[in-house]
Amino acid sequence: MLVGLHDGGTAQRKVFHAVNGIILASCCFWFSREEGTMVLAPIVLFVLLSEIVRKFFPAINNMIAAMFGPVMRAHEMNKFSGALALRLARSLACTSSHDDCWRM
């Protein structure tokens, strides 16, 4: 178990969660679908790849855990983290803000 790792309920993780929600909503508000896609899609792809890589390479997993340990749940050390889900949700919601794609 890595030092500094917490399992649920840390203040840092909740603040991180709320700040991400605000950033996400702001992105949806201000940016068009194209802008959101251009900026966030590469970030999401990078995060997705890093999540896959850390699954198979313990050294990389430890490095990511050292950086994001305070905002990760203990069980997320060995599986994909909620941070990825949050970033993906943000990216995809922002991309939905294009005028022509608001509704179906």
């Binding site: 909740k14 991400n20 949806c28 994909f80 990825l84 949700a89 939905s96 608001w102 179906m104």
Partner: protein, 151 residues
């Protein structure tokens, strides 16, 4: 079990939100995700009463807190002229009061219940970060359509 299988369900759910919901609904659902989930967790920890917990460990008080907060977030958005910048189909500022409260409560309850609904295989494979925006978006959309005031 592959722990990362859930991400694919998450992607599918997010893509559904992306394609099917409007900008105001997407913003509301992301605010639910940002505030409802941490507040539910904080309340669940602060008021850790065993008999008020569901079998999946989720606190009913936490769910109630998330519901109230998400309802208030929705009303705050509906009362803010900035929402017009999102290009809603109809103007929430001109909706009857009962419609605004109905939509706000529906959205809040959806976010709270989505948080609470992490049972069994759903919990094994999905993250509530994925469920909350999709479910709340769907409920907001259906509620506004049912009440004749598209968002």
């Amino acid at each position: 079990m592959l722990a990362y299988v859930g991400i694919f369900f998450y992607l599918a759910g997010s893509l559904i939100s992306w394609y099917f919901f409007s900008k105001p609904i997407a913003i509301l659902s992301m605010l639910y995700l940002g505030f409802g989930d941490p507040i539910a967790s904080a309340f669940g920890i602060a008021f850790s009463t065993p008999w008020l917990r569901a079998s999946n460990g989720k606190s009913l008080l936490g769910t109630l807190a998330a519901t109230v907060v998400c309802t208030l977030i929705t009303m705050a958005c509906f009362n803010n002229p900035l929402i017009l910048e999102c290009g809603p189909v109809s103007n929430p500022l001109q909706w009857p009061e009962y419609v605004r409260w109905s939509v706000a409560i529906a959205g809040g309850v959806a976010a709270g219940v989505a948080e609470l609904s992490m049972f069994g295989m759903v919990r094994d494979y999905l993250d509530d970060n994925a469920i909350i925006p999709v479910v709340s978006s769907l409920v907001l959309y259906l509620t506004t359509e049912a009440l004749g005031h598209s968002l």
